[in-house]
């Protein structure tokens, strides 16, 4: 029975990796330690100049600032809900920076950091959570799809889009975001099967923040998630999701491979959701404060700051300037949110179809007429 009684051993996708890793966890690609030291990795390196390093830092800080402001706005009743990215800034900013201009990203509902890097205006994300629309940005112009709330559905869209890229013989790649919980959805597994079978240029970028709302990762998988890919016949790699350089390196390599016709890669960015699942959630019901404390030591921003400071790439003025920019951004977000006009009632009808069918046009007309009846203040 021995052949059956063990969990099949898995191949380390980073052979010979000597990277430091978290206790009790398999090795993960790391290029910047929590203490802010640059380390080497046998398979991955990243060529970032000082300017890009400062830009990365700036993005990390600003998306956090945005996130904090949005959380505050929600608490004050200005947003229906907010899904915080706190703790996941490096995974998102790193992945975002790995994208080329004509690559396409398919986010979940939490990739505000990627949105930022793609040039989406924070207010166009806020408008979704305020209930004004389902996201105000142009997915085509930004190369950043609208948020998808149904867990996992976007991974198939990303794969299909990648099939289109293939047919266009374009040198582009697609980045499909998903959470650890999403890996259990049938559709996500179908996406991987499809991508593998068709060698589609899509990279699956899984932020394993270790929870699907309250459910810990152990319920979704008893082996590290990056190993899933091998079962479908393509490479999987685990990266320190709190290390923006490692994420950038690994994602860049995977996207390049995809553009190069080598098919999909699965990236597991190992990270932690520092906040609640959303502002509606109460994580004290299901996780220990000590876990949070432990992860604070692995903060994705502190390590970059430490490195920039220590290496002299940035000085106190730079950090202060970014702080100030953050304050301005927060103020702009706040004002923009409060000033945001409510949508017109007819928006209910106007975009359901490219060609509105007559019965819907009739409903719309009745709607307009009905509401006109209240205009004079005769609403009962």
């Amino acid at each position: 029975m021995t052949a059956l009684s063990h969990t099949t051993e898995v191949v380390d996708p980073v052979p010979g990796a000597g990277a430091p890793h978290l206790p009790g966890q398999p090795p993960l690609v790391q290029l910047l330690t929590p203490e802010g030291e640059r380390v080497e990795h046998p398979d991955y390196s990243v060529d970032v100049g000082d300017q890009e390093l400062r830009a990365l830092y700036r993005d990390l800080v600003l998306v956090r600032r945005w996130d904090v402001e949005a959380t505050a706005l929600q608490r004050q009743g200005e947003l229906g809900i907010w899904a915080s990215l706190l703790g996941q800034e490096a995974a998102q900013v790193g992945a975002g920076h790995a994208l080329a201009a004509d690559d396409m990203a398919f986010p979940t509902y939490r990739e505000h950091g990627v949105a930022w890097v793609r040039g989406v205006d924070p207010l166009q994300v806020i408008s979704l959570f305020r209930g004004v629309d389902a996201g105000g940005w142009d997915p085509v112009a930004t190369g950043f799809n609208l948020y998808t709330v149904v867990i996992g559905a976007q991974t198939l869209h990303a794969t299909g889009y990648a099939m289109g890229v293939q047919r266009d013989c374009a040198e582009s790649a697609v980045l499909a975001f998903l959470g650890d919980g999403a890996t259990s959805q049938g559709e996500v597994n179908e996406a991987m099967i499809w991508a593998s079978s068709l060698s589609a240029p899509v990279v699956f970028f899984c932020q394993n923040n270790q929870y699907a709302i309250s459910v810990p990762i152990e319920r979704q998988s008893r082996v590290p998630l990056y190993q899933r890919a091998a079962g479908f016949g393509f490479p999987g790699v685990r990266v320190d999701g709190n290390d923006v350089l490692a994420v950038l390196a690994v994602t860049r390599a995977a996207l390049a491979a995809a553009r190069d016709g080598q098919g999909p890669t699965f990236i597991e960015a190992f990270t932690y959701r520092m906040g609640a699942h959303t502002t509606s959630d109460d994580p004290t019901r299901y996780r220990l404060a000590s876990e949070l404390e432990e992860w604070k030591l692995r903060d994705p921003i502190a390590r970059v700051k430490a490195y920039l400071a220590r290496s002299g790439i940035a000085d106190a003025d730079f950090f202060a300037a970014i702080e100030a920019e953050g304050d301005e951004l927060a103020a702009r977000i706040r004002k923009g949110t409060l000033d945001m006009p409510d949508p017109a009632g007819t928006e209910i009808f106007d975009h359901v179809y490219a060609e509105m069918p007559p019965p819907l046009a009739a409903q719309r007309a009745e709607f307009v007429e009905y509401h006109a009846g209240f205009e004079g203040g005769v609403e009962r």
Binding site: L128, G131, A134, V150, Q185, I213, P343, F349, V352
Partner: protein, 325 residues
């Protein structure tokens, strides 16, 4: 013993009692364990009954419903929670091709005593997919039964009756009314599960509703009364099978009927009810059965939901139109 309970708490107590009464009852769903569900309907149950009976599942609705089928075959009575109405669709294949058909497929050898709990409907200011009313999809599916509760007492008893019932039941919970309170006699005799109920007598127009719209219909009746119009309000309670005899009796008296639901009007429950009421009460009708429902559009962003959802005024408008025939 009579207690004042919210609908949410009544469901929690009803589930607790079902778990106590029958060791074969197993609750399954996303986040229903330690968290107690996103609406806390299962609060405390995993702690008291263990994680074999209150199972936090992997994140996959087909998996929840599909494994429930297997558990039912093994003699269990699974109670599945779908976190929000809009997330039931990954489980649609299992519901329509398996849960609904296995009793027939096996010529009665395999029972499917499965309850699918779904918080449904809008009005809570949520983002996409969290405010839908998918009941017509299930009511069009032979082999399923569908009920919708509107009061704490029906919630408390209904969930227990549904769990004890031998057929699969989609159990719809009016999520925006979870926090509304009423007295529940915990030892009383419950109304039958598959029966509609006249909740307010009246003579001019019969108004039908279920789930969250019952309250809206009652508010409309209140307002109408002030204008001297008498509405009879019926809480359908059971959506499949429909229990329309009380409706027919009412419409034969009033000659007028308005159906209210949040789901889009086209092929919503109102369509079926209009067809049946017209067939059965043709010569009594003074006006066609009128429908007040969601528009034939996706549920809109929350800033527009008040405009989308039927409210007191839209019900009264339909009443006016009915009287105008």
């Amino acid at each position: 013993m009579t207690e004042t309970l919210t609908i949410g708490k009544a469901l929690n107590l009803g589930l607790r009692r079902a778990l106590e009464d029958d060791p074969k009852v197993v609750l399954m769903g996303e986040d229903i364990g330690r968290l107690g569900g996103v609406f806390r309907i299962t609060d405390g149950l995993q702690k008291d009954f263990g994680d074999d009976r209150v199972v936090d599942t992997p994140l996959a609705e087909a998996g929840i419903v599909g494994t429930a089928v297997g558990l039912a075959m093994r003699g269990y009575r699974p109670v599945c929670e779908i976190q929000f109405d809009g997330f039931v669709f990954p489980a649609y294949n299992q519901l329509v091709t398996q849960v609904a058909k296995i009793h027939a497929r096996s010529r009665g050898r395999l029972a499917m005593p499965i309850v699918i709990r779904i918080p449904f409907g809008g009005g809570i200011g949520a983002v996409e997919h969290h405010s839908e009313s998918p009941e017509a999809y299930f009511a069009h599916t032979a082999g399923l039964k569908v009920v919708a509760v509107s009061t704490p007492a029906d919630a408390y008893w209904g969930i227990q009756q549904a769990i004890a019932h031998p057929d699969p039941i989609v159990f719809l919970e009016p999520k925006r009314r979870y926090w509304e309170k009423a007295a529940v006699d915990l030892d009383g005799t419950p109304s039958p599960l598959f029966a509609s109920r006249v909740v307010r007598g009246g003579d001019d127009v019969t108004v039908l509703a279920y789930g969250p719209m019952v309250k809206t219909a009652l508010q409309a009746a209140e307002a109408a009364a002030e204008e001297g119009r008498s509405l009879e309000v019926i809480d359908l309670r059971t959506i499949s099978p429909l229990d329309l005899d009380p409706v027919f009796a009412s419409v034969r008296r009033t000659g007028r009927c308005v159906v209210v639901h949040e789901a889009p009007v086209t092929l919503g429950l109102g369509a079926e009810i209009a067809a049946r009421v017209t067939e059965t009460c043709f010569h009594s009708l003074e006006a066609p059965v009128l429908r007040v429902g969601g528009y034939d559009t996706p549920y809109p962003p929350s800033k527009l939901e008040e405009e989308y959802l039927p409210d007191l005024d839209r019900v009264l408008d339909a009443v006016d139109r009915s009287m105008g025939f």
